[in-house]
């Protein structure tokens, strides 16, 4: 069995064009304005990322009417469809990260800040280049939750995944704000736990996805 299908990837990829634009443009435009150096912990980009993740997950889970049965009867193993969904979501996140990184690395933010008369620039620009990496970590933590929540919604007690997302979201945010970049066993343990949750959610998502009922 083939695991990688570029056609399927591009087919699903078309579904995420708008959310990707939201994420990429949202982050890129956001970056231009704050006068304090970006730390990666700002509220607005986190909100953009949550919206992006939710939209991408939704777009991939709720294909347009009739598309779902069409795609699921093409002959792809449903696991393959699941992992392509994950891959497309990951690519969407990467596109947003790439766009925001470019805005930083090409100096557009610095130029904008200087234009707005921010005296801290260009000097503090040097501490910002890693901000998109924080966002990437946020994507890595949140995307599986979104993907899981929507595949979970197809099953009994459909809000289970949503609650999970609601629980994980603030916990991530809270721990993130207080512990990111600190030393000690707790942040490390939480990172490991977060990694485990990510892997477990993707795996459980795959299992649930196998039993999904395809609406038409």
């Amino acid at each position: 069995m083939r695991f990688f299908h570029p056609m399927l990837l591009s087919y699903l990829g078309r579904k995420t064009v708008w959310p990707t634009l939201l994420g990429a443009a949202g982050l890129a435009i956001f970056e231009l304005f704050p006068s304090a150096p970006l730390s990666g912990r700002e509220m607005l980009p986190a909100a953009i990322i949550v919206a992006h993740v939710a939209w991408v997950s939704w777009a991939l889970a709720r294909l347009d009417k009739g598309e779902m049965p069409f795609l699921y009867t093409r002959g792809f193993h449903w696991d393959v469809i699941w992992w392509h969904r994950v891959a497309v979501a990951a690519l969407s996140a990467l596109a947003a990260i790439a766009a925001s990184s470019l805005v930083l690395w090409l100096g557009l933010r610095t130029a904008a800040q200087i234009g707005m008369g921010d005296s801290l620039y260009p000097l503090v620009a040097r501490r910002e280049s890693w901000a998109p990496m924080y966002w990437l970590v946020l994507y890595v933590l949140l995307l599986p939750v979104g993907l899981y929540a929507f595949v979970r919604a197809e099953h009994e007690a459909p809000l289970g995944g949503l609650w999970l997302a609601i629980a994980i979201g603030p916990t991530t945010w809270f721990a993130w704000n207080l512990l990111a970049g600190t030393a000690g066993w707790l942040p490390r343990a939480l990172m490991v736990a977060g990694g485990c949750v990510v892997v477990a959610l993707l795996w459980a998502g795959q299992r649930l996805h196998r039993n999904v009922e395809v609406a038409s």
């Binding site: 399927l8 009417k65 009739g66 009867t73 449903w78 038409s216």
Partner: protein, 306 residues
């Protein structure tokens, strides 16, 4: 020519046993036993909401049965579907790809998923002069169906499940499609299950007819048998109801009163013996469409009455 052996001993590919499905407690399909053997074209008839589409979704494994089983070559349809459902092709009533994709792109996508003959697909599209580069959304409803049917046929499935495949096609294309399905079943020894409510089309190519009404399978018979065994009797109303018995097995399939005359649809293994029952009425062979209408109408009246 495999599997014929001149004897009709073909294997059942699709087999539904006591198949049930509820949607939020409302029964959509209740205890359906139906099978489709290799080389067989089965026409699944029934009014809207009768459960045809539900049956096809169950057969394709898109949804889980609430009871009973449906299997394809002995493998549960759900299990097979999650594996990709290789060997089963389906055209749904409203299963459509995204509008932006071209016919060619669809071919690429399908080719990526498994065995696929571009040659067959290409010729199929040429039959209606469909451009391979036009976006899917720009085709007419019938053309879309045509493309999706071609996509299904080009994957050389063992089982073809088609929900109203000819919807929106003009009569000549419909004929082409059904002949193609027949030919495909013949040539590949495949089973074809077609739902429709245009009986005239399937009557020409189907081997078997199954009529579903409100989730119940009410007729499941070889078309040849039906042709031979079902008759319509028209006789004055005052003659009273036809009473089964009189030494010949008789099943009343439908009854309707039109003014002063009663129309009866009967099934019997011995049509020649009917003349005695007709009581001077007229005995006629029955077209599938009439039979279908009579049967479904009769049942609905029976159920309303009870």
């Amino acid at each position: 020519m495999t599997g014929l052996n001149g004897s009709g001993m073909s294997m059942a590919i699709l087999e539904a046993k006591d198949l049930r499905r509820d949607f939020s407690g409302v029964s959509a399909l209740d205890g359906v036993n139906l099978s489709a053997a290799s080389g067989e074209v089965v026409a699944l008839l029934g009014p809207n909401g009768a459960g045809k589409t539900t049956f096809l979704r169950l057969a394709r494994g898109l949804i889980e049965p609430s009871g009973g089983t449906v299997s394809i070559d002995g493998c549960a349809a759900r299990v097979l579907a999650a594996r990709g459902g290789r060997g089963v092709a389906a055209v749904g009533d409203a299963w459509e790809p995204a509008g932006w994709i071209s016919a060619d792109g669809l071919g690429d996508l399908q080719a990526s998923a498994g065995p696929f003959s571009r040659r067959i697909y290409g010729r199929w599209c040429e039959q209606l002069n469909l451009s391979p580069y036009k976006a899917f959304r720009q085709f007419s409803k019938g053309q879309k169906r045509w493309i999706l049917c071609g996509l299904a046929l080009a994957t050389s499935p063992r089982l073809l499940l088609m929900d109203e495949p000819a919807d929106g096609l003009d009569p000549s294309a419909r004929l082409l499609l059904y002949q193609a399905l027949r030919a495909y079943a013949n040539d590949h020894d495949a089973a074809v299950v077609v739902t429709t409510h245009i009986c005239g089309d399937v009557e020409k190519v189907a081997d078997r007819v199954a009529i579903i009404d409100r989730g119940h399978l009410i007729v499941d018979a070889e078309l040849e048998t039906l042709r031979h065994e079902v008759r319509q009797i028209t006789r004055p109303s005052e003659a009273g109801p036809i009473v089964p018995g009189n030494g010949c097995a008789l099943e009343i399939l439908g009854h309707r009163r039109e003014g002063a005359v009663d129309l009866w649809w009967l099934r019997t293994s011995n049509p020649e013996a009917l003349s005695s029952l007709a009581g001077g009425g007229e005995i006629r062979p029955v077209a599938l469409e009439d039979l279908y209408l009579a049967v479904t109408a009769f049942r609905s009246r029976l159920e309303n009455a009870s």
